[in-house]
Every structure is written in structure tokens, then in C-alpha cells.
Amino acid sequence: MNTRDCGHIISASSPAKGEAGKTGEWRTQRPVLNEAKCLAVRANKDICFQCWAFCPEGAIERKPGGPIDLTYCKGCGICAQICPADAIQMESEYDSPESTKSE
């Protein structure tokens, strides 16, 4: 492995999804969106987007019910905390049937 061609003398990155690596690997709990509660989905308008604005990994798309990219979602739970409609719940990664993680 050789990093000499990266052209940076300091640590720098473009602000983008995944700039801190595949942070989804860190997750112990995952956000699950209840669309029946989500303000944007219910109004079918580009509104609210608090979860998109606050996600530190940029893992949530800016559209109603915008899917959460679990490759980068590190399960911090900020979206669940900030959601004014209480539409996002954090569920244990180990209980989820889709989870590849085991305890």
C-alpha cells in the first residue's frame, strides 16, 4: 500500500459522504424511519429535513423519506433526537433481521 501519490502534505478531504471512511462499520444501532410520522412524507413536500441537516456523515438524502445510507450511517442517533415528529427510532443492530453483525 502506497499513499505517496495522494498529493496532500496535510490531512484534508472533500466534504462528502464517506470522507471519514465506511463509518457504517461502527454502528451498534440503526435508525428506522416511520414514514407515517415523517412530516415531509406526510405532506409530500420538500420540508423539515432536520435529519438531513444534522446528520454528521451526510448519510441521509434530501428528499421526503430520503433513504439513510447504512454504508456510512454510524448509528449516532442524532437524526432520531432531532426529528420534531419523533419519526426515527434507533433499533439495536444485533436484533435486526437484516443485520450481518453478531454479538
Binding site: T3, I9, I10, A12, S13, S14, E19
Partner: protein, 427 residues
């Protein structure tokens, strides 16, 4: 270069053609004024500093230049040294040439930011007016402050007199912007900072030619945002653009290599400076009567200027003695020093600081340099002048004469070799 930078470059340096307060030529100034004039001539664009004795006059002088419109720069008043370095880091990243000054407890207060500055590879130049570290409280001179920040990844250059201060500040920008590392210009508090000496102020237009515009390594471009210093994991990894980027260790390797490469750069730039301005500062270190010497005194700062008197006094007594005056302490010129100290029998290091629990920092580094090249000289560590205790030439001369005799009579005990010898300590 970005458009923003180009505009800034075009606007700056016009003040150098006709400086009002300090036109080119002879002036009688203090060390602090000398540092401020150096920053003035280097065309600094941002100054952020917090006043602390004995550094305050540097800041006052620069504030005056800026307030009176003589220096087109931004003066940012701050509430602490930590913030002063923070402002310098931000301004330097944005592409400005920045200057600050501090000493002692102020330097220790900005310790965290020193590492941010060097790790971000920013060519900040800072005057460090050497002063004793509290406790107990002291505002007088020794070199414990800058020596304690030895491992912050900065270039540290020591000045012997007021002329060297102005010349070193100007050279420091050239060095810093070439290797992308911050430079600490260290000079002794009061002994130089508040003592007036005649200096030659160089021609601003020549300085402008010597110092090409600063080009940041990572230009700030609003249309292409960049995160600087994000969390950097231990191992290299692909970034969001799919490029394999350095891990923490690769960045530190680059930082260290640049510091080591700056050994050559410091020498080259000193030679170039001599060609333009007619003065050399000795590159990494200067030697005085060392060619035929068996005994060598090694020290840094104003003390090494005084020690030339000691050498002359002892030469009259037929002691084969010489002097090595360290200019670059980091990077440490270990290879060149080991060549310069070859065949010397006795080496006397004088530190105005102490690595508490061991010996003086200069002594420690000299000893390790000699080990690398397999030279088995006897090295004796002297500690002197802590907290402003006066150092008199005859005291140094007496000690050197005494220990040279002891060496010849093989009377150097373990107590002398393994411990530091305190000069003029009245305990």
C-alpha cells in the same frame, strides 16, 4: 494561485518602497523593535498577539505600524495566547503571511496550538522572547520556554544579537514558506529584547525580491470546499473521491522529513541572504576559533556572543579553546556538528534551561550526536543564568580553565560527568 491570492499579492508590499519610521540604513533599536521591523519588511498581512513581558514592545511596535497606516495589515486583538495562535492558523490557511510573538507562560499556553500549526504545515513566524517559566514567578531571561516546546514540530532558530533578529525574521519567512513549517525566532529577553544596539535595516525592495509571495499548500477555494485536518485514522484509507490518503503516521513522517530537509534549506537561504544583503548568520551554527581547539564551548543565543570574549580571554592563557554557537536547535544539525566536533577532547555545553531530572537540552543532543558518529569526547553539562541570574564572562572562563586542567590531570569524576554543573548557583 487562486484569484483571491493574486489580488492580495498585488495589493501588498507597496509600503516597502518608502518606509517612514525605519528607512533602510543604520538604526539604534532594541531586539523587540528589530523583530517588529523584520515582520514589517517581510510584508506581514495579519498580526495576532497577546502582550506578555518582555515581548510586549514587539506587539506595540507592530500595532503602531498598522494603526498609523504604514503597514497594510490586519491587527487582531485577542484575549489569550491560545487564541493568538488560533488566529494565526486561520489566517495562514487562508493564504496570509502572519506574525506573532510570545514568551514563557504565553508560549506554554499556546502549546496545543503550536502542534496544530506545525501539523497543518503552516509557515507562521513567531518571535519567542526567551523568559523563565513560572513557578516561581519570573519575567527575566532563560531559555526554558522554547526548549520546553522543542518537540512541537517547529523550526527553532536562536539569535545572538539584534542584527540577527531582524535578519532571522526575514529569513524565517523564506524558510517557512519553502518547507511549509512554522518557525520560532528565539532571542533572549531583556539581554536582547530591551537592549539597544545599532542594526542595519535592509532595503524593503530587496526584501520583497528575496521573499516571493506566499503560496499556500492547500489553497482555499470557495467553489471547491475542503475539510482541513479531519479525523485521520491510523491506517491509510480511500477518501470520498476514491484516492488512497495518508494515515496519521504518513503525515507525521512527511512532517518530520520536511523538518530534516530544512537543515539544507536553512543553510542555502542563509547563503542567498549573504549574497543579497552582505550578512551571513552562520547557517545552522557558527564556529569561533575551533580549527585548532581541543576544548569547545557550545551554547545558543546571546550567551554565545558573550562567549567569544571568554574564548579570547582563555586563548591569552594558552588554552586551546573554541566556540560553537548553535543557531538551529530544531532541526538539530547532528551530522554537521559531529564533523565540527571531531577530534575535540573536551566539550563544555552551557544551557540556560534544564531537562529537569537529567541535564541541559543542548548537552543531551550534543551527546547523542557524538554517539552516532562514534566520537568519544568528554562532554560536561553546565547550567547557567536560570531566571535571569547574571552570567559573567570571567565565571565561564574560570570554569572552562578549571575543567580543562582537571581533564588533563584525569581528575574528572563521575559526579562531574554524569551530573550538571551549576554556574554561580549560591545554594
Amino acid at each position: 494561485m487562486t484569484v483571491l491570492n493574486q489580488q492580495r499579492v498585488n495589493n501588498t508590499h507597496n509600503h516597502l518602497s518608502n518606509p517612514k519610521t525605519y528607512p533602510p540604513g543604520q538604526h539604534v533599536v532594541t531586539g523587540n523593535q528589530s523583530a517588529a521591523i523584520g515582520a514589517f519588511l517581510s510584508g506581514v498581512q495579519v498580526v495576532a498577539a497577546y502582550p506578555i513581558t518582555p515581548q510586549s514592545p514587539v506587539v506595540e511596535e507592530l500595532a503602531k505600524f498598522i494603526e498609523e497606516g504604514e503597514l497594510p495589515a490586519e491587527f487582531v486583538p485577542v484575549e489569550s495566547e491560545h487564541s493568538a495562535m488560533g488566529v494565526c492558523i486561520g489566517a495562514s490557511i487562508a493564504g496570509a503571511r502572519v506574525f506573532t510573538a510570545t514568551c514563557a507562560n504565553g508560549l506554554a499556553y499556546m502549546c496545543e496550538q503550536l502542534h496544530w500549526a506545525s501539523g497543518s504545515r503552516l509557515p507562521i513566524v513567531m518571535a519567542c522572547v526567551n523568559r523563565a517559566m513560572a513557578a516561581p514567578w519570573s519575567v527575566l531571561n532563560d531559555q526554558q520556554d522554547s526548549m520546553s516546546q522543542r518537540d512541537a514540530g517547529w523550526i527553532q532558530l536562536f539569535c545572538k544579537d539584534n542584527q540577527e533578529i531582524i535578519d532571522t525574521v526575514i529569513q524565517a519567512y523564506r524558510i517557512a514558506e519553502k518547507v511549509y513549517l512554522p518557525v520560532m525566532v528565539c532571542y533572549d529577553g531583556y539581554i536582547l529584547s530591551h537592549t539597544v544596539m545599532p542594526i542595519e535595516v535592509p532595503d524593503g525592495n530587496k526584501v520583497k525580491k528575496f521573499l516571493p509571495p506566499y503560496i499556500p499548500h492547500t489553497p482555499i477555494d470557495i467553489s471547491k470546499p475542503v475539510n482541513i485536518n479531519p479525523v485521520t485514522l491510523a491506517d491509510p484509507r480511500l477518501n470520498a473521491d476514491g484516492v488512497l490518503c495518508h494515515g496519521y503516521m504518513e503525515h507525521k513522517y512527511l512532517h518530520h522529513q520536511s523538518l530534516r530537509n530544512s537543515l539544507k534549506i536553512i543553510e542555502e537561504i542563509d547563503i542567498e541572504y549573504k549574497d543579497i544583503f552582505g550578512r551571513s548568520l552562520g547557517g545552522l551554527f557558527s564556529e569561533y576559533k575551533t580549527d585548532d581547539a581541543d576544548v569547545v564551548i557550545i551554547c545558543a543565543g546571546s550567551l554565545s556572543k558573550m562567549c567569544t570574549l571568554v574564548i579570547d580571554m582563555l586563548r591569552e592563557q594558552n588554552v586551546p579553546i573554541g566556540l560553537v554557537s548553535l543557531r538551529a536547535y530544531r532541526p538539530f544539525p547532528n551530522q554537521k556538528l559531529s564533523v565540527a566536533l571531531k577530534n575535540k577532547k573536551l566539550i563544555l555545553t552551557i544551557d540556560k534551561s534544564l531537562s529537569y531530572g537529567y541535564q541541559g537540552p543542548i548537552c543531551i543532543d550534543i551527546k547523542s550526536s557524538l554517539f552516532e558518529s562514534g566520537i568519544s569526547s568528554t562532554v560536561i553539562s553546565f547550567v547557567a543564568g536560570l531566571g535571569g541570574r547574571d552570567i559573567k564572562p570571567y565565571e565561564i572562563a574560570e570554569k572552562a580553565y578549571d575543567y580543562w586542567n582537571k581533564f588533563n590531570k584525569k581528575e574528572l569524576t563521575n559526579e562531574i560527568i554524569y551530573e550538571s554543573q551549576w554556574i554561580n548557583c549560591k545554594y
